[in-house]
Amino acid sequence: MNDLARTIEALLFIAPEPLEVATIQDITGEGPDGIAGALEEVRGRHGPDTGLELAEVAGGWALRTRGDLAAACDALRARPREDRLSPAALETLAVVAYLEPVTRREIGRLRGVDVDSTVSSLLDRGLIEEADRPHAGPTTYRTTTAFLERFGLARRGDLPTLERFELTGPEAGALRARLEHADLIAEAETGDA
């Protein structure tokens, strides 16, 4: 490894949070290209046959242990308590992640339910935050760095395109058919209303 790569490796080792390229630039005085090359070298040194890996997370770079060694790591260091995300929370997060900045009302309209408590719990968990308010408009929300870290995303917008998740024609047809079926059942049940 050259000195730049060694230095970056040392910085990655001591950094308390993902290290931004700009920070590495400031400290090493090196340009982005040189840093990108050195990062490749660091990545190469921590391959699948080692205990570590280099990952791009939340807009920065981080050295971390490989996923298959999680059990041993947890045996050494108690994990923070499990914080399960409900399907409602995940769906709300998905809406915010794809549409940010987005208002509560917009989220509610899409989800078709009241989202106040879900939004509050995501705020409390630090997974979303209020975005800048343009001027006295309604509050808008966006995802946080903690969200990116938790989901292992390299940066904001590091998501598959939404088109990828759209229903195909037949799937939408099946949905409509299911709904018609449900309608008839409901009618049959309510009887001669």
Partner: protein, 260 residues
Amino acid sequence: MRGTNPAEGRAGDAGNLGGVPARDASAALTQEVEIDLFQGPFDLLLTLLLRDEVDLLELPLADLVEEAVTPATDERWEIDAASQLVLLLAAIADLKGRRMLGEEVEDEPDADALAMREALVGRLVAYAPFQRAALWLADRLRAAERPRYRRVPPGTATPVPVHDDPARLSAAIDRMVVAPPAPSLAHMGVVRRPLPELLVRLRDSLARLREVSFDRIVADCDRLEEALTLLAALELVRRGEAELRQDVPFGDILITGTRA
């Protein structure tokens, strides 16, 4: 009478008063009617109505009544035929009335229900990508939960005070307290609000409160506005956006939004 009566010749003698041929009961059913929505014998119209192939809500009831009961100059009413016709028209009026009030009359959902279902399908189709994205996120979460990060033990990093600009504080509080605009007097002297505006207002209230008291929203309205507001509320009911509830006759009406 514009329609011709093919059964005219079959008119019986029983109701034959004054020598002019009268119409019998079956004649009432086969009588031709010609209205905006339909042209043909009355019994065919009934069949189509019952099969929902002609929209009852679209049926111009007054025209139909006029068409059916205006006798040709050379005809007199046969009592049975007349009463059957009246009965049929009353049944159609009743059916239409109940449809308009949103009651289920048959197994087939009415046009409003279909429109609502279509809207629901649209909403679900629009939302489906986000549900799938949520599943993707859940997968991602499971994968991302495995690696462990090194946390520098406290004390190794020298705490360096962060410097911030106090002007950001005043800017922040300033943002919150944008001076309210001067009260507008534009509405003074305007007697009534157009229905669309009332609709928007009512919708906004429902989006905010879920349940709105009619008395409260019309507290500062004149009678005309009050009537228009009631129309707006009924319109929301018709569109499936709200429900009305009146616990006591002549009491307050509670308008409840049906959309979350």
